[in-house]
């Protein structure tokens, strides 16, 4: 089973959603949304409620020559831990009912990567027996293999600062928040193998209103190799090029912001020039300031509809 939920950069959602379209997987069920989500939109026409929309959590299936695939695409994650755990178990009930033997979840990992660099895929299995296999995937990295004292985050809810679970990479330890993490744990409790694949997203883009297709591509490339299933990812590559152009424009605008502190300006200049940022001299406060400026620019972009 391959799961993708909405989260930072829509990495998981775009990866599994694209895979679903490419293989033309067939829908075979949905999780009733009412207990998990608020309605996202109502349509009232001439005084009549014509439709109430809820975020979808949809199962799809597809048969490969050597295995069957179960895909799960979730447009939103429950914000409440209790509900997320319940949903994870509901997903696992379905997986077990259809004889699923392995689960992959896909998400984002927020790191100090530069947006012009190909994202790696942080891989976290729920059993030590899977570590050797994960190392063979290519372009993957284990938490213990992190090069720098970078911070990373197993993604989900960008709206809730408190749920963020930063880890000190290099120790081999950390946490993965949200459904991607809960599903890994709940599967472990049931003795089901599961691996979370997290495409890297630059820290300065974690609040961007756009998807980050480069990370989705990296995740799909890993899945393509391990499932021995060639995938045409040109659609995602085209989208990634557009997003890159947007990023460059935002960085340009940010560099022209008058009240930017000098050290932050230097950092942004480095980003503009495509050099991997050196976080050493940048304090947490300055990093926060960079994020705030970028958030403001993203908000302006979104409001201007560009």
């Amino acid at each position: 089973m391959l799961c993708g939920w909405a989260g930072i950069g829509s990495v998981g959602l775009a990866a599994i959603g694209t895979l679903r379209r490419l293989v033309r997987a067939s829908e075979f069920g949905r999780i009733e949304p009412y207990e998990y989500f608020e309605p996202s939109r109502v349509v009232i026409r001439n005084g009549l409620i014509s439709r109430m929309w809820f975020p979808n959590t949809t199962f799809y299936s597809h048969s490969l020559p050597d295995r069957d695939l179960l895909l799960l695409v979730g447009e939103q994650q429950p914000t409440d831990d209790r509900k997320a755990y319940k949903m994870a178990n509901e997903v696992l009930d379905v997986a077990q009912r259809v004889g699923c033997r392995r689960i992959y979840t896909s998400a984002a990992s927020v790191t100090t990567i530069h947006h012009r660099v190909k994202p790696r895929v942080w891989a976290v299995p729920n059993s030590p027996d899977l570590l050797a296999e994960v190392r063979r995937y290519g372009n993957t990295i284990l938490m213990s293999e992190a090069e720098n004292a970078a911070e990373t985050r197993g993604t989900t809810d960008e709206s809730d600062e408190d749920t963020r679970s930063f880890i000190s990479a290099g120790s081999g330890g950390g946490s993965i928040s949200g459904l991607n993490g809960i599903l890994l744990g709940a599967a472990k409790n049931r003795g089901i193998e599961a691996i979370c694949l997290m495409g890297e997203v630059p820290y300065y883009l974690q609040a961007a209103p756009w998807p980050y297709p480069k990370a989705s591509i990296s995740v799909l490339e890993v899945l393509s190799r391990l499932l021995r299933m060639p995938l045409d990812l040109c659609e995602l590559h085209e989208m990634a090029e557009k997003v890159d152009r947007n990023i460059e424009q935002v960085l340009e605008a940010l560099a022209n912001t008058e009240e930017l502190p000098e050290q932050v300006r230097t950092e942004m200049e480095r980003l503009k020039q495509g050099r991997r940022p050196d976080l050493g001299p940048i304090t947490d406060g300055e990093k926060h300031e960079i994020m705030e400026h970028i958030d403001e620019l993203f908000r302006d972009e979104a409001e201007n509809g560009s």
């Binding site: 009412y34 996202s40 001439n46 005084g47």
Partner: protein, 276 residues
């Protein structure tokens, strides 16, 4: 008290067990535009002789880690049910749930159907509009059933259109519709500058319409008096020619810019000071 058929884990806390047949269920919220919902419920409860018979425990639906203090007084979320045997009605007066709205609203509908044998759900809300207090308040209706839509259009304007996140009243109506329980959201226009005050004229407009829909014959004299008092205070403010011009512009259907709106709101705030 745990009535027969109620789960002990239920958040409903009964003080008595009224039994109604074919009742009307009216939901009102304590904080809304122009205080329309709260004041209309207050009036309907009093006018129908309804008495409180049940409360809904706040845990799970509201943040209960502490209390908020308003005007020096500690507040705590309340959800109270009132029953009128004579008018065969159950009235909910509640703070809007902040979380688990699905569970909250279904609990409410369970009560309405199980104890009130409700045949219809009605909600009352105010909605801010660029209108003047001197013009009649329009009431819009929203329903979840085509048959009711036709009847509703005979009473209220037919052009309520909206796309976006649903208000809790609309969510309640939709959930009621899933149970084949018909209902209507009544939205009454409140001049934007009265949104943070008590707009008795709007209360009167929506109570008059709802009582007509329910076939209740209520004496609306008290509401008329309150509305007249409010209009008297607002009329005094028109001595200022700039304020008068703004109100006339609204009467003509013209818009006001942000600064003009702010000035009007401030003038109304001063005129009504101490009355809300």
């Amino acid at each position: 008290m745990v009535p027969e058929g109620t789960n002990e884990d239920s958040p409903l806390r009964f003080t008595s067990q009224p039994r109604l047949e074919q009742s009307s269920f009216i939901a009102a919220w304590t904080k809304d535009t122009g205080a329309v919902s709260r004041l209309a419920a207050d009036y309907l409860i009093k006018a129908s002789g309804a008495g409180e018979f049940c409360r809904l425990e706040p845990g799970g639906f509201y943040p209960v880690g502490g209390v908020t203090v308003v005007d020096d007084v500690a507040q705590f979320p309340l959800s109270r049910f009132f029953c009128s045997q004579s008018h065969s009605a159950v009235v909910l007066q509640a703070d809007e749930p902040q979380s688990n709205r699905y569970e909250f609203l279904n609990t409410v509908l369970d009560l309405a159907q199980q104890y009130g044998k409700a045949t219809g759900v009605y909600t009352i809300d105010g909605i801010a509009a660029l209108t003047a207090h001197t013009t009649p308040r329009r009431v819009f209706g929203v329903c979840s059933d085509v048959a009711i839509q036709r009847r509703l259009h005979e009473l209220v304007p037919a052009d309520a259109n909206w796309q976006g996140p649903p208000h809790v009243s609309t969510y309640l109506l939709w959930l009621a519709g899933q149970r084949h329980l018909p209902g209507v959201n009544l939205w009454v226009e409140v001049p934007f500058y009265l949104a943070d005050h008590e707009d008795h004229q709007s209360v009167k407009a929506v109570v008059a319409l709802l009582s007509m829909m329910l076939g209740w014959e209520l004496d609306l004299g008290e509401l008329d008096r309150l509305a007249a008092d409010q209009n008297g205070k607002l009329a005094a403010m028109e001595d200022d020619p700039e304020i008068r011009d703004k109100i006339h512009a609204l009467e003509e259907g013209l818009s006001l810019n942000r600064q003009e709106r702010t000035e009007l709101k401030e003038a109304v705030g001063s005129a009504l000071k101490g009355s809300s």
